[in-house]
Symmetry: C2
Subunit: 340 residues, 2 copies
């Protein structure tokens, strides 16, 4: 197993990326290819105490990097030798099993689609982060790749999310819910109503375990394992969870800072508090999978530190080993929605 890592992507590149790559190599035993400026990468390795390139690690030199301000639609034409673009080319050419990048989300999605390409028959690739729920976790698909969706996209997302939940998260017969503003069949816009009908049919035919519409609150309570929605609403949900988690975190923190007694209380519950923070922290969760691309591409959080990058590599390995893409290919016929 070889994972290709864009060493120049993200706010803390290349140092934290390289540090995370080293940790992932030790933890998971995978080989690593780093794409980026060789001199900068070697210097980062040196900062981590590595005077020579560790065995199983390679550097592919690139002279450019994709910046946040670059237009995703044109950057790979303008910058032919970017660390992100080269990483995706290596993946396409079979020089590794998955790509991990903490660089621009838009560019990575465009690059994955243009260079690595979607699975044949998949209309749109989706971003599928794993969110915390009261009882465990759930896959949220899509969360921003496709602001405007058709019922067919959503039906495909339902399958993609379901396969991901089963293959990568290990959830048997995942419960798929359609994110909506109420549980009744009449709720939502035309998009939800049409999608609901298709998903009910897929459930009836035994291809999916579809439980119907689900409200955001019920989904967070653990009401389903796969939350299907358009990228606009999915992004609003994801960012609302992040925002509220951070709001709750700072409220709790200030609670404990009041006086000597509350500071004492803080010491007593510190381990638990840290695990709560970790649950709400995108750095700990790792990366977001792009599902529907013909090979595994994982977007690590832009603010990733070494630990986040390490976790994203772990996720990339699980994805690559999961058989998820074969699942998609084998079920493509069910995912086609004829025009009504």
């Amino acid at each position: 197993m070889r994972i290709i890592i864009d060493a120049m992507g993200g706010d803390n590149a290349p140092l934290e990326i390289v540090k995370g790559a080293l940790a992932a190599q030790k933890r998971f035993g995978a080989d690593i290819t780093l794409t980026g400026d060789t001199v900068a990468v070697l210097r980062a390795l040196e900062s981590c105490g590595e005077t020579t390139l560790p065995s199983g690690m390679e550097i592919v030199n690139t002279t450019e990097a994709v910046e946040m301000c670059d237009d995703p639609a044109t950057v790979f034409r303008r910058k032919k030798d970017s660390s992100m673009g080269v990483a995706l080319q290596l993946l396409r050419d079979g020089k590794g099993e998955a790509v991990v990048s903490a660089g621009s989300t838009g560019a990575l999605l465009t690059g994955a689609t243009l260079i690595v390409k979607r699975v044949r028959g998949i209309r749109r690739a989706a971003m599928a982060p794993v969110i915390p729920t009261t009882t465990g976790k759930a896959v949220l698909i899509d969360c921003g790749a496709n602001a405007e969706c058709t019922p067919e996209y959503l039906v495909q997302f339902a399958y993609l999310g379901s396969f991901y939940a089963r293959r990568v998260l290990g959830i048997d017969n995942p419960r798929v819910g359609l994110l909506n503003i109420g549980a009744e069949d009449s709720k939502g816009t035309e998009l939800q109503k049409e999608t609901l009908a298709w998903l009910r049919r897929a459930d009836g035919e035994g291809h999916l375990h579809f439980i119907g519409n689900i409200e955001a609150k019920e989904a967070i309570k653990g009401g389903c394992d796969v939350i299907v929605t358009d990228g606009f609403s999915g992004n609003i949900m994801l960012k609302s969870i992040e925002g509220t988690g951070s709001l709750a975190g700072s409220a709790i923190k200030s609670l404990f800072k009041k006086n000597l007694l509350t500071k004492l209380a803080a010491a007593l519950v510190m381990p638990g508090l840290n695990s709560f923070k970790a649950m709400m922290d995108p750095n700990k969760v790792g990366g977001t999978a792009f599902i529907g691309i013909s090979r595994p591409v994982i977007k690590a959080h832009g603010a990733s530190n070494a630990e986040a990058l390490e976790n994203a590599v772990g996720q990339a390995i699980r994805f690559a080993e999961s058989g998820l893409i074969a699942d998609i290919e084998a079920n493509m016929e069910h995912m086609k929605v004829e025009k009504e």
Copy 2:
């Protein structure tokens, strides 16, 4: 000031509604009209220790109640003498300054629109709850009344929310943000892009303080005072905040239940914990205003207890005293969006 309360609406009607009405009367000094089954209301008053009708309190007898399963579109035709419908008629006829109901949201919105009617020129009434932010609070408009919106609806919501934030929440020159999946002008669907252009124009002309697109996470951090969005995304945001708040609440709770030491810690921070819970608790926040209706209508949470109802009455009084509706009427000319 007289507030009309639907005594039969909500999960805990009539007892908690009547209890809350009594508390509100004492706290705010307002007169109260209760619509509902006189016998049931008198019995509830008796349970609260009131053997006679308190001075300033009236009961208007009704023989029916709107149920959650009733179709909002037809219920007021089928049930001519419902506590909710009669409350709205009394408001229309000037027999009180505002209506508060904890009954079906859909029915209350339809009833408010059909019976009390919208302000002339307003295309759609919106539901505008006040959500907690890291630095204070913000108005979220719309949060579910209108799943499908046009740019004109959203432009009107921006004005309505801005007037509400200024008049009812007391925020000077409220910062209006358009909820989106990124801050850049190119983000979102056609709806957001068109709305953005109109709102920039309104800002340029000095009618609104528009700050551009805002992500859900930034909005929860306190990045704006008015969050403008369609009812679908607004509902997803609201319910995600509620769900995550409750997730955080139970995570914190279990944290403190671990052992004797953590239980001791809980005792030390209990007052603070309770105020955190209150911030996240819809019962404490009170009600959601329907803005754009020609008189104040407040939807109290369906699970309202007496305290929630009391708070919703307080909000109704502030709304009725605020001059908000006069504001809307005076600015109607700016809120018209010509077809392009």
